[in-house]
């Protein structure tokens, strides 16, 4: 059977430093995966490499999405194929109104074709779902928003685009309890609204409480060290990464 995403024997890094070593990872459709690991393990790098960040080079191995080798594709092409990456620190883009940005990225996708009216209704629905002030929509993309608000805008795009694979890179970092609950609701809504696959990169277990997790992957020093079910989360929460030879507190708040 073909997986949605198959990474095999991946070695990758920046020009002067190799970061990922012999990484194997496969994700199937309509599942929730969690990628955990201590700081500096290479989790975010993996997310960015799947998205196609040109700052990283693939030395060997392959990345297949839906049966196609995508390792030479631009981030634009990967996005249109159905991959989404939510960034830890979404960039601010002055002078670009959020609403027209959302319209632009939606119009790039024929499968999301909607009239101006249908689009407006859809966006307003999502805003309500995420407890977002519709006033945000007329503001500039991410400019002057708090960390929590920026993450809501990421979730808004996620729900609007309904990608087949959504990678959330530390979407929970630096959020207060309210924002955390909105993000967690957004993840749930995404999983319920389409049969997309979620890959949650985190070292915070709180965000996962409301989510049914199918598989957990542990990465240490750029290597995949364990693949298991949701029970791994509880264990890591209790023990940290001690058993993988790493002494680091796991944040529970």
């Amino acid at each position: 059977m073909k997986h949605l995403l198959t990474i095999s024997g991946l070695n990758a890094g920046t020009e002067d430093k190799s970061i990922l070593h012999d990484v194997d990872l496969y994700l199937d459709a309509n599942q929730t995966h969690v990628l955990m690991g201590p700081n500096g393990a290479g989790k975010s790098t993996l997310g960015r490499i799947i998205m196609g960040d040109p700052a990283y080079q693939v030395e060997s191995g392959s990345i297949e999405f839906d049966g196609q080798d995508i390792s030479e594709d631009s981030p634009e092409k990967r996005s249109l194929a159905g991959i989404f990456l939510s960034y830890q620190a979404p960039v601010e883009i002055p002078g670009v109104p959020l609403y027209s940005f959302l319209r632009t990225i939606t119009q790039k996708r024929p499968e999301l074709k909607a009239s101006a009216r249908q689009f407006r209704i859809r966006v307003n629905e999502i805003c309500e779902q995420l407890d977002m002030d519709p006033g945000y929509l007329t503001r500039e993309l991410n400019v002057g928003f708090s960390g929590g608000e920026k993450k809501k805008i990421e979730m808004l795009q996620l729900l609007l685009l309904q990608p087949r694979l959504a990678i959330l890179d530390e979407t929970d970092s630096g959020l207060d309890v309210d924002a955390l609950s909105v993000v967690s609701r957004g993840m749930q809504a995404y999983r319920e609204s389409c049969d997309g696959t979620l890959l949650v990169i985190t070292h915070n277990t709180r965000i996962l409480e409301r989510l049914h997790v199918d598989h957990t992957h542990v990465m240490v020093h750029g290597r995949m060290v364990e693949r298991g079910g949701s029970e791994l989360i509880g264990r890591i929460d209790a023990e940290g990464f001690e058993r993988y030879g790493v002494h680091e507190e796991v944040s529970a708040s």
């Binding site: 998205m51 196609g52 960040d53 040109p54 700052a55 631009s74 981030p75 634009e76 990967r78 996005s79 249109l80 991959i83 989404f84 990456l85 960034y87 979404p90 960039v91 883009i93 002055p94 002078g95 670009v96 632009t104 990225i105 790039k108 996708r109 500039e140 993309l141 795009q157 685009l161």
Partner: protein, 467 residues
């Protein structure tokens, strides 16, 4: 991510019409020419005297040295100071010669006139070829005509009282040159308490090769009146230098409001050495909106003198310097009245080896109690060969005044491009989106058609920017 920038497509502006049958004075400058221009225009004696005095000052003043970008490529002996299309000024486009009418059609002027303007003036080389205003605006007592035409009517004395009073002939060498050979331009008079619902627009087109354009714009806005004036400029590209040394003098009366918008897109062989100045009375408000895209070298610093108490001025400008361009732009504010307020918001973009300099001067006089000034400028460089400089000067002579300044110079970060691309936007579109967003605070101040034109100009500049 590499950027391999192609030459900009300027086909919209880059077309040349024949000069056959035109009256063209020989290159260079002497008293005989100045007298001939004056005679041709059948001017009052005082104007001829002003021209001759200006010529004398012009010969005495040195070329500006150690100031901004080099103008060595400008050889005044090879600039024709007067080229006339030899046609009468018309009040109907049907009466404008076909090829000239075609030029303005292609620039979209008659269409804008029908939909969104209260009046239009169109200058072709040295002379106005068209001037017209809506009847209902004329009925309010508004005057909008060629300045030469106005010199032959009831406003002669008013023009005499204001002409080159704000910009004295001695201001600099090119102001003196302007005084000697000026030709064409508009005169606007808005009576007390009259508000125009639509803007007036003058468009200046320089078609002739190796020529100079020296139009004079004089606007008098009486107390309590309100006007938006738009100035557009363009020219086709030649391999020899062209010169634009126009002069704009604006008088804003007590409690009045004037917005002066410019979209300048001279071709890249143009030396744009233009002088603009406004005098602002008590409680009045002046706004400058300035988009500078064209020319080889520009020296352009609209100056505002806030004479009256509680008067204010805002300058919003954007400059886009591409390959082969060195654009030195900004503004000058002189705050003399108490409780005066100014804000300067400037943006510049440089690309493909272009150089852009923001230069501002804010002078707060000793009587400008509680004056407030904020200066903000931001620059965006699109590659490693381009250059961006910021030269803000402040001279504050009043203790109760408050002034603030902030400047940022940046590039488009790789993370920004990655963010947009990973949402499905192509690299070229992503860059254009960022640049348009950067320019947005300026374009949103422009009337819609001009905002669209500006976005198109940016798009043209950005096209082919990706290798």
């Amino acid at each position: 991510m590499s950027e391999d920038v192609k030459d900009v497509d300027r086909s919209l502006y880059d077309f040349v019409k024949s000069e056959e049958g035109y009256e063209r004075f020989d290159d260079g400058l002497n008293e005989e020419f100045v007298r001939a221009i004056s005679e041709k225009k059948d001017e009052p004696e005082w104007m001829l005297e002003l021209r001759l005095k200006a010529l004398d000052i012009y010969h005495k003043l040195e070329m500006p040295a150690n100031w901004g970008p080099s103008i060595e490529g400008l050889d005044m002996d090879h600039i024709s100071t007067y080229v006339s299309p030899n046609t009468e000024q018309a009040a109907s486009w049907d009466d404008v010669p076909e090829d000239i009418k075609d030029t303005f059609e292609r620039l979209g002027i008659p269409e804008a006139e029908r939909t969104s303007l209260a009046g239009v003036g169109a200058q072709y080389d040295s002379e106005l070829v068209y001037h017209n205003m809506r009847e209902e605006v004329a009925a309010l007592g508004v005057v909008y005509s060629g300045i030469e035409e106005a010199l032959h009517g009831p406003y002669e004395q008013m023009i005499r009282d204001h002409f080159m009073k704000l910009v004295p002939l001695t201001d600099h060498k090119f102001a003196a040159l302007h005084g000697a050979v000026w030709s064409g331009g508009s005169f606007v008079y808005v009576p007390k308490d009259v508000s125009l619902d639509f803007p007036l627009q003058s468009y200046f087109r320089l078609n002739a090769m190796g020529a100079g354009q020296f139009e004079h714009t004089l606007i008098i806005v009486e107390p309590g009146a309100d006007l938006h004036f738009i100035e557009g400029c363009s020219a086709p590209k030649y391999n020899v230098a062209n010169l634009h040394a126009g002069c704009v003098e604006l008088f804003v009366g007590e409690g009045a409001h004037l917005r002066y918008s410019t979209i300048e897109n001279w071709s890249k062989n143009m030396y744009n050495l233009n002088t603009k100045r406004a005098s602002v009375a008590k409680d009045a408000r002046m706004e400058w909106i300035s988009g500078s895209f064209g020319s080889h070298v520009s020296y352009l610093y609209p100056t505002t003198i806030l004479k009256g108490d509680s008067s204010s001025c805002e300058y919003t400008g954007i400059t886009f310097a591409g390959g082969g361009q060195n654009l030195d732009t900004g503004c000058k504010m002189i705050l003399n009245g108490a409780d005066t307020r100014i804000s300067i918001n400037a943006k510049s973009i440089s690309k493909d080896g272009g150089a852009s300099t923001f230069r501002s001067s804010v002078v707060v006089g000793s009587k400008a109690e509680r004056a407030r000034a904020t200066v903000s400028c931001a620059s965006l460089m699109l590659d490693d060969q381009s250059r961006s400089d910021t030269i803000p000067a402040m001279d504050v002579r009043c203790k109760s005044a408050s002034v603030g300044h902030e400047a940022t110079i940046g590039r488009i970060s790789d993370d920004t491009i990655l963010y947009l691309m990973s949402r499905g936007i192509g690299e070229e579109d992503a860059r254009t989106m960022v640049v348009n967003g950067f320019a947005n605070p300026v374009s949103k101040e422009l009337p819609l058609e001009y905002a669209v034109e500006m976005n198109n100009l940016i798009k043209l500049e950005m096209e082919g920017a990706i290798g």
